[in-house]
Subunit: 111 residues, 2 copies
DNA sequence: CGGTCATTCCTTACAATGTAAGAGTCGCGG
DNA sequence: CCGCGACTCTTACATTGTAAGGAATGACCG
């Protein structure tokens, strides 16, 4: 279990970032769309719920349920927000990538 | 197996980037150092070999053995280089992250 | 009212990826 | 000869990624 070795996986990172961008409007389907838009790849809904649960368990995310009366149908939405801890992870992950990318712009820039 | 769904994981991406930067000098221990340097976290050697194997299997990486006579001891070094395919993945992964980061600079920039 | 629909959620099981622990090889210095 | 340092590789297990499928809730229409 080694609690100290917890890091962000690839998909987890994308999810956290999408949540940040969506602000108040972050719930599963919206996050899915956001990721789809950025990556061009569509993840399944199941992946999202599982990942959201795990992120919350680890303290990277917090969630609250919307009033069911205010919704049009289906179960009440579960809105999520990134915690301070999650934000810290995101920052350090970004810093590491920027470091590794530095100097490779020529090679990595798109065709 | 779903061959088309192959993506880069978190660590795999770091490894590929480190290999790119190291150029001719890319072999396991050096890659390990490079990643350590960028992330501040030390991965184990075992992780590296396993990951290198898997990346090669998937065609993101190619490897060749150094002359054993030219080495100081131990087994001959295994040098690796990123394939065109690997480079493409790296680019698209970077593009996705840049998209998601855009507009969040204020929040993500470091303390 | 009852049926169909769209929207949302969740569970389960399995595949892919991440990681640690530990062992094997070779050449050198003592 | 023996231990040491610099490499590599194997194995086994934990964590993360993903698809498939099911169920709740309310709108709309006949």
């Amino acid at each position: 279990m080694t609690a100290s070795s917890v890091r962000l996986g690839h998909f987890e990172q994308l999810v956290l970032l999408a949540v940040l961008r969506l602000g108040d409007a972050a719930y599963a389907s919206a996050i899915l769309d956001e990721i789809d838009h950025a990556t061009g790849k569509t993840a399944s809904a199941g992946s999202m719920y599982v990942t959201l649960d795990r992120l919350e368990e680890k303290g990277f995310l917090r969630s609250r349920l919307a009033d069911s009366t205010s919704e049009r149908g289906g179960r009440p939405r579960r809105y999520v927000t990134v915690t301070a801890y999650g934000l810290r992870e995101l920052r350090s992950s970004r810093a590491a990538l920027l470091k590794l990318w530095r100097g490779l712009e020529g090679v990595l820039e798109n065709s």
